[in-house]
Symmetry: C2
Subunit: 113 residues, 2 copies
Amino acid sequence: MSFPLPGEPVRGSKTGKPIMALFDLLGRTWALGIIWNLQKSSCTFRELQQRCENISPTLLNKRISELKETSIVEKSLHGYCLTHLGNELFNLIEPLGSWSVNWNHSLKEGMDE
Amino acid sequence: MSFPLPGEPVRGSKTGKPIMALFDLLGRTWALGIIWNLQKSSCTFRELQQRCENISPTLLNKRISELKETSIVEKSLHGYCLTHLGNELFNLIEPLGSWSVNWNHSLKEGMDE
DNA sequence: AACAGCGCTACACAATATGTAGCACTAATA
DNA sequence: TATTAGTGCTACATATTGTGTAGCGCTGTT
């Protein structure tokens, strides 16, 4: 159960629904962060490590394996990068950036009350 | 560090960037699934547990606490439901549903090659 | 030959998740 | 009033996952 694939039982879910496989995949430490940081440009293992605030190599390697296995990340001549699918996924995730800034403001306002 | 709040260091990230807090929050088992399943309608603790494939109460309670603390989920007269912010977030996440179905097909095609 | 940078792996320790049992409470029913 | 059913949880033992540091084997450069 180490690579969450749609159609198969995944961590926490036995239905095999694609959305559940995706939630399992993205619901692992740094998975979203890696996609986020890879979008800028392709890069080497060690640079990616730095972009991800010095994530441990053990974990980075695990996440990369999972994301390669699921066709979201691939290795090119210039290092790791997002696949076509990965870029599509990034585009869906991107709006979270501005939403999170908004969320931040709302939480701060809430604190004043 | 148990409630990931923007502006503070979170699991895996010390920058306090809102997007990192969000990734920490969503990057925990079943966090995305809970938002997904709550959107349909408000519901009780135990019903939510069932919608989430009998997630353990320990974990459900933890996730609910975090999501309440961060103004994404709240408790109404009719049970737990998404806040206004939570609904906005759901709208951003919703497209992942059809993307994941597509992804599923792509992966299956890849296997045939 | 000596170094530097690369992609990793090993391993011990810490934090998180899972699964089962069951408690304290409320409301309805007998 | 005593029982029953449903509720929102908590406790706890076990299993899985993540962290942090050290360092290996490789490729190129000086």
